[in-house]
Symmetry: C2
Subunit: 349 residues, 2 copies
């Protein structure tokens, strides 16, 4: 792309305007435009194709200490994504290369050579998986599920694995890997359609529809985990975590990946009142942050690409089109409307 073509482009962006209390609203965001700047020597200019929308984004909007700094007021909202190199002054990247990076919620991103590592910029191979699979099984959710299950959970064949948010991006990866590793897998998801998909398409042994009644989770665990729960991969927290704690086995492992039920609380987080089950069962509850495994992503990607190829792993993405829909699209995660990994398509390739 010639230089004058670059400078004629306009970059539409979504910025954090204020910190939400409870669910984010339109008023928490501002839409801005900026001219696109040419890359400096050694840098690249990227065009955003699709962005990953994740529950963790809600945490990044809050002030205060977490595993990464919050998004500042007035900053472009943080988001991982996939896109294409449209101008390059770096011999490692050619125009037309597909990449993943911390794009932010915007149409273009110029990355200086010095910022490439920090932005997580890396080429992606569409033979291993589609663009949106690179945001799902082969992306952060997939890595989270893989390393959370394998490194923290340490599953053994024959064990019973329960995963909440089973139809979500992390959940679908966790459950399918656990099946591949020889475990019995029980999902927890919201609604009959998601549960049916998880069992029929992904091959989980069972799936509990937590929306089907007030004691659906308790009874479902009783019915489907006859030998108790050895591993619980939790994306949800709240009552679901407590119900599973009541059914764990000795030496069980509970992987705390998230607590989507609590992210928009305007009161305190609901702590697991059954946590003393950890004592009774000599069990362990442990948190996972995917970035810690960055030096092994390539190994997990290679393994999962193999499963995608041989059909043992499937993926589902829920794709919404248009950067302007970001404020409303994000909310689909919190009301459970998304079916599969939520992706915001920003441009057509």
């Amino acid at each position: 792309m010639p230089a004058n073509a670059v400078t004629s482009l306009t970059n539409h962006q979504i910025r954090l305007a204020s910190r939400p209390v409870g669910l984010p609203t339109r008023a928490n965001w501002s839409a801005t435009t900026e001219p696109v700047t040419e890359p400096s020597e050694g840098g690249v200019l990227l065009k955003t194709l699709a962005l990953s929308l994740d529950p963790a984004m809600r945490g990044w909007m809050n002030e205060g200490k977490s595993y990464i700094p919050p998004v500042g007021i007035g900053e472009v909202m943080r988001a991982g994504g996939v896109g294409k190199v449209i101008a390059s002054k770096n011999p490692k990247f050619a125009v037309g290369d597909y990449v993943s990076a911390g794009f932010g919620v915007q149409e273009y991103l110029t990355v200086a050579e010095a910022d490439m590592k920090r932005s997580g910029l890396g080429k992606i191979d569409l033979r291993a998986g589609s663009l949106t699979q690179w945001l799902n099984v082969l992306g952060m959710p997939g890595m989270t599920g893989y390393f959370g299950l394998m490194d923290v959970g340490q599953p053994k064949a024959g064990e019973t694995v329960v995963v909440s948010g089973a139809a979500g991006a992390v959940g679908q990866t966790v459950g399918q890997i656990a099946k591949i590793k020889g475990c019995r897998v029980v999902g927890i998801a919201g609604g009959a359609a998601k549960c049916e998909w998880v069992v029929k398409e992904l091959g989980f042994d069972a799936c509990i529809d937590y929306k089907s009644g007030p004691s659906a989770v308790k009874e479902g665990l009783k019915a489907h985990c006859l030998k108790g729960v050895d591993i619980f991969f939790d994306n949800v927290g709240g009552e679901i975590l407590d119900s599973v704690l009541a059914r764990i086995n000795r030496s069980a492992r509970i992987i705390i990946c998230g607590a989507i039920s609590q992210y928009n609380n305007t009161t305190a987080v609901q702590g697991p009142k059954n946590y003393l089950s950890l004592l009774v069962n000599r069990a362990r509850m442990e948190g996972i942050v995917v970035f810690d495994y960055a030096d092994r992503y390539h190994l997990a990607v290679a393994e999962m690409a193999g499963y995608l190829k041989d059909g043992r792993m499937k993926s589902k993405e829920d794709i919404v089109v248009g950067i302007d829909t970001f404020p409303e699209t994000l909310l689909k995660l919190f009301n459970g409307e998304n079916f599969g990994k939520l992706v915001l398509q920003v441009a057509v390739d």
Copy 2:
């Protein structure tokens, strides 16, 4: 002791009469007497000298699944203790031998040969520690502290270890071992006297008096754990657990040994609302039950006896005399009145 002397003895016992709601009262207990029976071939007759009174006893009084079955209504209350062999039909035990065992709250215990393992009967050596130290540092609380800290906590020199219930039986052991292993140790205890003892006598680096004000724990942790908390050994639960969760370091270990603040609740246990700190800090919360380490008790006892001998470890027992005081004496644990390991002296040696 000649056989006719045995059969003339009367065994005073305390039995569980009903399950308490909240704090146990006199009405939950019944005092009974039984004639003492001679040991069968291979068995022994033991005289109780002192019993260990532990927070865990409150849990044993409840119905329902736990790490051991509850004490049945009408049964002699379960209690570990130390005593003396007063009649023996087993060549491994001589009259006059000191032993520890699951005596129960009673003056005498006849143990058949087949029940010796189940009752935990074993000789104790008073050169390694005094009778009451065998209920403290060298007994169950000491073993709990040792294996909880060393196996679950895995302390490294230079790390900061916080222990709640610091002046109690488990707490005093945990803190002193952590000091010996080169850690910075901060206790949490109730009252200035306990805190002073923990620092001046046991050598903790600091001790926070949780009774000294509503935000004493929060502020104390801030003041005394400048580099955060690497290991938290929790005997208390509730607000204290939440306050520590807010200050843990990356890869911190939280050992859940008990939750004395919650045992007499008539409402649900207070779950740790800051549990997502486990996620942010990639930290681990894990339960411990001492019985799992039975095959290694002798190693820990040998190590701790060495520390007692060379003066690096001290112990404090709070001794109350008289089996009849059991119902009230037990309550000292729950109102924090005991200062050191609570021991019920049943007879004078």
